[in-house]
Symmetry: C3
């Protein structure tokens, strides 16, 4: 770091090369940290299977921590794979597998009938990505760069799609509130109607997601080159490669192998986590919604946190926004429908009726993120504003009693 290399003229506001080296150094410092957490994987296995060590709270916490590096490796493998296969398929890859860890956790919870935790983790992922992840990104980037710019059209399409998702998540709850005032004989609320309404809405959302992929990967991909709103595994991979000093991405064979191994372990640890969540909840005195909205959502998104924040600190705000907004979109328009479909396969259909505080939290988040992203520029105080909203929503969910 003693010799100054020529400035990268890509951006006028990019800090001189020695600061970049510091970023590389800190990123390398982070990388061993995440891998160090892998030690929690065998600890989780031990806690789960050795008789006499039957402590749900410990198993829950250890499993949560163990997921983080595993999800990180799933992400790495996806990025290297995307870099090998090119931008188009890379984008599609991230668009479908970007939230694989959360999907796996949710499927296990669904199979155990924990519908409340599943729904809470859906809303928690949405607000966690657009408030916590984006807030930390704006803050971290804004402390380094006075002002950061991003493509307004891409951000706008994402924000509007999130609004559509928020409206869709709001309607089944409205339906219940209104329809239960009417006697069943005169057409009032029944669980079957709530289910059919949810299924119909979810089909519309899924179709919209497919068309959104068509828009951003095919017809208007020029808008998203380097600005992939699905997270652009290709670009992120390239950025990481630069930062980590590697010249070549992994081979397809190596990427797929690592991806499958990591996925297998995520599935294993998720099974532990979900098996222990009810016990841990009661011991810690947390509600189902709080666990879903705050805990499961943060753990499931933890690997993406570092990506988005890193991108912001490297002044690639489009990538950062793409990761955060794209992930929320994927949860709402792809993962949630998938989970509803899966619930039918499991034999106990899940509807889309969320608790009122969850609906309010999603609407509030979508409203403030639309304001913040509509002008195409960001600064550190906007990061603080997003984090403040996340904080007060967290406070609300902490005080709320169990839903009845």
């Amino acid at each position: 770091m003693s010799t100054l290399s020529p400035n990268d003229s890509n951006s006028e506001s990019e800090p001189p090369a020695d600061a970049e080296d510091k970023t590389t150094a800190s990123h390398s410092w982070l990388k061993p940290s995440l891998d160090w957490l892998l030690v929690f994987v065998p600890i989780a296995i031990v806690l789960r299977f050795v008789p006499g060590l039957d402590n749900p709270t410990a198993l829950f916490i250890v499993s949560c921590i163990a997921i983080i590096p595993l999800a990180g490796w799933m992400g790495h493998a996806t990025e290297h794979l995307a870099e090998r296969l090119g931008q188009g398929i890379g984008g599609l890859l991230n668009a479908t597998f970007g939230n694989a860890a959360e999907l796996i956790i949710a499927l296990f919870a669904l199979s155990k009938g924990l519908d409340g935790v599943v729904k809470a983790s859906i809303t928690g992922s949405i607000i966690g990505n657009i408030l916590l992840v984006l807030g930390l990104s704006f803050l971290a980037g804004g402390v380094k760069f006075r002002e950061q710019k991003f493509n307004r059209t891409a951000a706008s399409v994402s924000a509007t799609a999130l609004t559509l998702a928020a409206i869709a998540l709001l309607l089944p709850t409205i339906f219940h509130l209104v329809a239960e005032q009417v006697p069943v004989a005169q057409g009032g609320w029944t669980p079957a109607k709530e289910q059919n309404l949810s299924l119909a809405i979810v089909i519309v959302l899924f179709a919209t997601y497919a068309l959104t992929l068509l828009f951003s990967l095919v017809t208007h991909k020029e808008l998203f080159v380097g600005h992939q709103e699905q997270g652009n595994a290709f670009e992120v991979g390239a950025e990481r490669t630069k930062a980590e000093g590697h010249g070549e991405p992994w081979s397809v064979k190596k990427s797929v192998l690592i991806l499958l191994t990591a996925t297998a372990f995520v599935a294993l640890v998720s099974e532990f986590l979900v098996g222990a969540v009810e016990g841990a909840r009661e011991t810690l005195g947390l509600t189902e919604v709080f666990v879903g909205v705050i805990v499961v959502a943060i753990i499931g998104n933890a690997a993406e946190h570092s990506s988005a924040i890193l991108m912001a600190m490297r002044n690639k705000m489009d990538l950062s926004l793409g990761i955060a907004l794209g992930s929320s979109l994927q949860i709402a328009l792809f993962v949630a429908p998938l989970l509803v479909f899966a619930s039918y396969l499991f034999g106990s259909p899940m509807n889309l009726e969320f608790t009122i505080p969850e609906v309010v939290a999603v609407l509030a988040s979508v409203f403030i993120v639309q304001q913040i992203s509509s002008d195409g520029e960001s600064n550190w105080i906007e990061g603080v504003q997003l984090l403040s909203v996340y904080a007060i929503l967290g406070i609300l969910f902490y005080f709320l009693p169990e839903a009845h």
Copy 2:
């Protein structure tokens, strides 16, 4: 269509002349189609008056279809008249008579005491215009042109006026919910208070509309030249004339004659429609709100659908937006107040208290349209997003029971 004419250099992204001819050809193809529907007018008359053919469902459906070409002719006549009388008066003309068909249908429903259908058709027109019409326009135009631009200031003034309207429509419902918790003796809810509140609000809206006309037709008309937010009958007429290959607009005498004739027939068929709606509803198993929000609103706006979509396909997105947003504005700030005033003349005052799902639908629509129109550009996925919101709102209203 075999020789290429020199490109119209008005817009860089305008397709070559042969595509324009195809549009002309398809528009001419559409024109005979709408006129063909006129055959339903005598069918409606027959169904209504011939004894033994007393089928409310059939009469309702036939009347609905018959309104479409009649409303179309009312629109044509208004446009030709506006072209003759110049932009100023033409704008004023469209600003007051643009929704004449819906106003007539609503007045008949009001006279029969069908307050619920009237209110539902108000909300249905608002959301139908800004979600269905605008969505189809963005989609149709976006499939042809990668990106379409429109004047942000004009769109912004309209979207903000719609927000004002949405707030105004929300407050009487809030008043009822809150005030009915309090005993009447201590100032709680009474029908008289709801009525007075509604009347006061409606007067403010009407005054705001008058001032908005002053803004867009007088003080800031330069913003709207070619971009008339009331629909710019003048411009639309000019566009149609170009497309239809006519050189001259109709004479004032011919326009007025056709306008009066069409209006008379719309009144006649509306009387049939409203007389049959209750019977048809029960047979088809549809609620009053669903009929108002989906059916009556689409029928009443059907003629405007073709205008707005045509304009989008001819890359005149300002006109398209003007028709859609302007129509919604007119319903909320002009037609709704007129109907409330008329209800006093009919002897049974109508208030502005809408059902909760209607309020939620209007708020959601206004929110998403403000997002979409604030950046001054549109693409096909935004059209899909608007149509998706319309679809899930329609699904909600399909499942909702009759309001009690």
Copy 3:
């Protein structure tokens, strides 16, 4: 005014010098008017202390009017002081003392246990500033200038902070509605929980305000030079000085002296006002919420009205917006937390639970102001739209019964 002075070329759309002289003349005309109201101060003292003149309604009205010129002098003194001490400290000064009059009135009300009036004056100040003050400013300025521009980034940061505030004010009410459905034994609503939730939220808001000051006074002050979102007492003072024809601002000693004297009288008259409010309310038949939202809020903000409107008419729209939005922000993120902290000192803690109509009013106001300020330009019809929303909210609060 008989000789034309050379045009001030500061702004292309600035009217010629003789119109500026007219503004100076009218401002000078205003100044004696405000001072003339000072006669109500001794009248208030007389009404309060002379036995036999015990009329709460009269005392309330006279005290209200007496506050206006006193708050005006507090404002003058703050501005002159800010001009003397420079922009940085001047901004800080206005950021903390800009709403001193309302803070004093609210502290007296708090000490008398009138929590409802205090909360209503908080919401009333917020919506009064962003609807009434800003509406009058846009209207007055827009009648003079076709179009006025302002810095979008600064307006955007303020509007987003207001959204954060609106969300924070909404959550305690949501908590009450949801938690009271659950029995206390199972974690349901208790006053203590409501209080702790409110306190936690208020701490987050206070911290956010401190960071916002850091943003606008230190790290990004270039954005706000001349555009101080806290009202820029420095700039406003300079503008007034120009208008009033004074060369020099008052000495620090004179400013402090006048500030302290005015503050003392404001405290005195506030004590009268709060002591008489309950009696006046019952006589006039107004609810606690109406008095707080409309009356107290207008009186407390009256001095700022003239500043913001004057700035708009002098085409300094950034200052105007800064005064209006900045004042609302200060109420929500600084004054409200201060009042909650003070309530603990007074021994009867006040929570942040507002009535549903208050929450709806704040959300509606923040929503429409975000729309209107996001494009960086204003015109007269936007002023009308803001005033219309204020009018219909006022109508709602007039009809609402006393909250129970």
